[in-house]
Amino acid sequence: DVKVTQSSRYLVKRTGEKVFLECVQDMDHENMFWYRQDPGLGLRLIYFSYDVKMKEKGDIPEGYSVSREKKERFSLILESASTNQTSMYLCASSPRGQQLLNEKLFFGSGTQLSVL
């Protein structure tokens, strides 16, 4: 069965800490995504990557960076965590090909990050 695994289900960090959220997929997908989920706002795209070492900003990249050194792993980095980054973070992956004609996004189970 296909899997997108996020390293932590819950995470508590202090303001100013550097935070790494890790995501691994075992489907050999080219595309990987980081979304942020907040009540009343739905999911918003932070960054995505369509190949190793390739990345593009999404709708809300400020305060975040990403790293994709290997195809299966996509990391979201909060350089200096702030309280307004308290949120649920969801990773997703999808294969390249006919875009969304016969594909879908595969999501991880999310990391609930609290920044105190």
Partner: protein, 115 residues
């Protein structure tokens, strides 16, 4: 830029009844896709149904069907014979045809199915 609006923050329905969740969107694109995703308490996002904009026929998946009104930019989800396992957050989402999976999501609707 695309926007997706779900105007119902919460809905409830009795088991075995039918419920409709609303979604409207705004775009100038002609080639796009629309989705409904379900997020149960486990937080695992599950694709419920997908609609290609160029198809006039409404998509159906077992008890789930959509009413796609392209001119009105409306994309509602109908759940028939509601089951307790349908209790979840439901998200409507939009993707441009060339977006490689970059979705724009609505705010979400919490659906509770009562026994």
């Amino acid at each position: 830029a695309q926007t997706v609006t779900q105007s119902q923050p919460e809905m409830s329905v009795q088991e075995a009844e039918t419920v409709t969740l609303s979604c409207t969107y705004d775009t100038s694109e002609n080639n796009y896709y629309l989705f409904w995703y379900k997020q149960p308490p486990s937080r695992q996002m599950i694709l419920v149904i997908r609609q290609e904009a160029y198809k006039q026929q409404n998509a159906t998946e077992n008890r789930f069907s959509v009413n796609f009104q392209k001119a009105a930019k409306s994309f509602s989800l109908k759940i028939s014979d509601s089951q307790l396992g349908d209790t979840a957050m439901y998200f409507c989402a939009f993707a441009r045809g060339t977006s490689y999976g970059k979705l724009t999501f609505g705010q979400g609707t919490i659906l509770t199915v009562h026994p």
